[in-house]
Symmetry: C2
Subunit: 249 residues, 2 copies
DNA sequence: ACGCATGTTGCGTATTATGCAACTTATGTT
DNA sequence: AACATAAGTTGCATAATACGCAACATGCGT
């Protein structure tokens, strides 16, 4: 279906602004989108009128607006899985000493919807709200193996360990669903290993994935099975807890 | 300036979806915006393409999409005031036993960017991301009295205590800036009193407001001055903490 | 004060969003 | 099970409107 172009342009502007450190000016936006200054100006004004962007009082550059916080937070509040999962994330941190994460499938990617940091680890930038690829993260592989199993066409490498071969990945996914947990062995970030397991609702339908992630030095390959067992048991406990009252998808 | 209408329609759809419990269908959206089904269909597809809305797999109804979480969270992470303020919000809760909130000025409204709940109070729905009016909330009155002092044209009442008279409000604001803290005496929600104080950066420019809110039974008018003093002292401590390294607006 | 860069407004044109109607798909009813 | 009703999508001609150009306005640095 043909997209509404002026709406699409507006949405593209929002995505542009996400990646700019200190906001953008009209001309800068126009250049990036390859449109005229005047169009950029009018689009920005419309976005501003509805609170999706905001002009910095001092620099007059456009920044993402409060309406996005409002809508984003509103959506997070809807996702009751998150509320249920919180204590289990803490339990994961207690038992493993590593950071714990919760993700669901969204837009054919892994959407991180909550995290609990380990006390040991140095402060990590919040990952909540981040979309990550399915094929090279532990949480993502869970969502692929147990849920929507269509492997993306492009397997872009992030490290030299990223699996870019389709059949290798398929084998990994088969292994994952067999043993019940997934591994990311420095396939997305160097020096970081992750272990994840599936979370089910009462109908045994996949709703998300939880897991841990930590430095390769601590999360060694020898101890992977051990970590896997912990993650699986807690994921199972959470699934049981969700029982019959989960109203997520 | 004339707004880009098709962009505006798309943004309006996002706002509509915020207030729907279980998503909306194409026809429903079309009715609300008074446009044709076909237009609604095309707009929704465009929003979906960029992840701003998502179709429920089961019901096929449209919901707010993950991109909003991504962008909203991204914006929250930028706001360093929030990081600095967190311990002070906890301190407020410890000292008063009531819920603590942090807000900044956005879109001529009070944008709640963080909260810490009191252990005493029953679980309150998260207010983070909420936009509230300036003229009838304690945090808002602070932003009015110490920051942008233009009083809105319309003073819509929320309770019978809401101040709808312009000059009365002006007097209250004068009193507020004189004594250093603001009160919301059941002016926004029945049974809820709030007390708030201003947060400044190193240039003595207002950056936000923090305060507490609790049931009128506990936050009595006799103890208001006492609460005010606590809130002021913590707001001052936070302002001092912000010192010379705040990079917010 | 001057020049340069950025941002906004007016206007004619061409693109494109729109509404209608026909068609397709899903849902629920007797 | 067949029908009726509702919801959603597509094709198309028309009307609306978004667009780019150019002129104007504003702000910044030298």
């Amino acid at each position: 279906m043909a997209e509404i172009q002026s709406l699409a342009k507006g949405l593209k502007i929002l995505n542009l602004l996400e990646h700019s450190r200190n906001g953008m000016g009209t001309t800068e936006v126009a250049t990036q989108l390859e449109i005229d200054k005047s169009s950029a100006s009018r689009l920005l004004h419309t976005l501003a009128k509805y609170g999706f962007v905001e002009q910095d009082q001092v620099t007059a550059r456009y920044l993402l607006g409060p309406q996005l916080v409002t809508l984003g937070q509103h959506l997070l509040n809807r996702i009751t899985l998150r509320d249920h999962a919180r204590p289990y994330l803490h339990e994961l941190v207690d038992k493993t000493g590593e950071c714990a994460h919760l993700a669901i499938l969204a837009q054919r990617q892994a959407l991180y919807i909550d995290q609990v940091e380990s006390t040991a680890a140095l402060r990590v930038e919040s990952e909540i709200g981040t979309l990550s690829p399915l094929y090279c993260t532990a949480l993502g592989k869970i969502l692929l193996a147990f849920g929507d199993s269509r492997i993306p066409d492009e397997l872009t490498p992030f490290t030299h360990r990223t699996v870019t071969d389709r059949s290798t990945l398929e084998a990994q996914l088969a292994q994952t669903s067999k043993r019940g947990y997934a591994i990311d062995d420095e396939e997305y970030n160097y020096g970081v290993r992750c272990v994840a397991a599936p979370v089910y609702d009462h109908k045994s339908a996949l709703v998300g994935a939880i897991g841990i992630s930590g430095p390769a030095g601590r999360v060694t390959l020898e101890r992977i099975d051990e970590f896997g067992a912990v993650v699986i048991s807690i994921a199972a406990a959470l699934s049981a807890r969700l029982g019959y009252d989960l109203n997520l998808r």
